[in-house]
Amino acid sequence: MRIVSLISPVLMAVFSALCGLAHGIEKGQPAPNFSLPSTNADTSASSPISLVALRGKVVYVDFWASWCGPCKQSFPWMNDMQTRYGSKGFQVVAINVDKKPSDAAGFLRATAPVFSIAYDPAGSTPQLFQVKAMPSSFLIGTDGRVIATHAGFRDADRSPLEQSIRQALGIKE
């Protein structure tokens, strides 16, 4: 009995480690909520941002870091999307996962985003969203459910991503 009681926590640890390898967030699932410190590009005011508060909007959640090359490529595109569809109820929230805030600040000076930037140096939000690659993005509908997920950022991704944003906003061709 003693041995069993000794080994069971060990087994539980192994199982929980295995459960960590579960699949990522998929289409149709409700997006996990987060509440993070953020800066708004328009007002440059810092205030916490949460996904629940953005309910009713189509939200594009993007995970980025200053050391990630494709992230740098995605920023001008996200700027473009925000300016084009912001008035139609679209919001980009780019969550930074840099450990050092100064790294993110340098990146932001170079890219000048016009959307919301949230900061999660502890990495709990990418854990919640089960991010598999950098950058990763999640398109979340007005009902708070995940419409599309995307990993990486290449030139060829621009138009299909924009297409899914337009579809989520109900914009006809």
Partner: protein, 92 residues
């Protein structure tokens, strides 16, 4: 006599207890040795900031590597660089 008997029993019990403790401790050490590395979490995609630093690359300097490779395959007479069979015309 009675007292002596009791003391031997408690002595044996003590020894049994010691043995059990040693056994369970040994098991714990064995278990932790077995899963020691398995419980190490791999680096998460969002934690690769340090791995992305230039100092972590295989080659220190890409330009220098280019020169070194050029010298290498010129001397070897096998265009195409390392690891892959080249033309071998020696014309570089």
């Amino acid at each position: 006599m009675k007292d002596a008997n009791e003391s031997t029993i408690s002595g044996m019990q003590l020894r049994m207890d010691c043995f059990r403790t040693a056994y369970t401790l040994g098991l714990m050490v064995l278990a932790s040795a077995c899963i020691g590395c398995a419980s190490l979490e791999p680096v998460k995609p969002w934690e690769k900031g340090n791995l992305a630093k230039p100092a972590m690359a295989f080659e220190g300097d890409r330009l220098e590597l280019g020169f070194a490779e050029h010298t290498y395959f010129s001397k070897e007479g096998s265009t195409g660089g390392n690891g892959v069979g080249g033309g071998g015309c020696g014309c570089n």
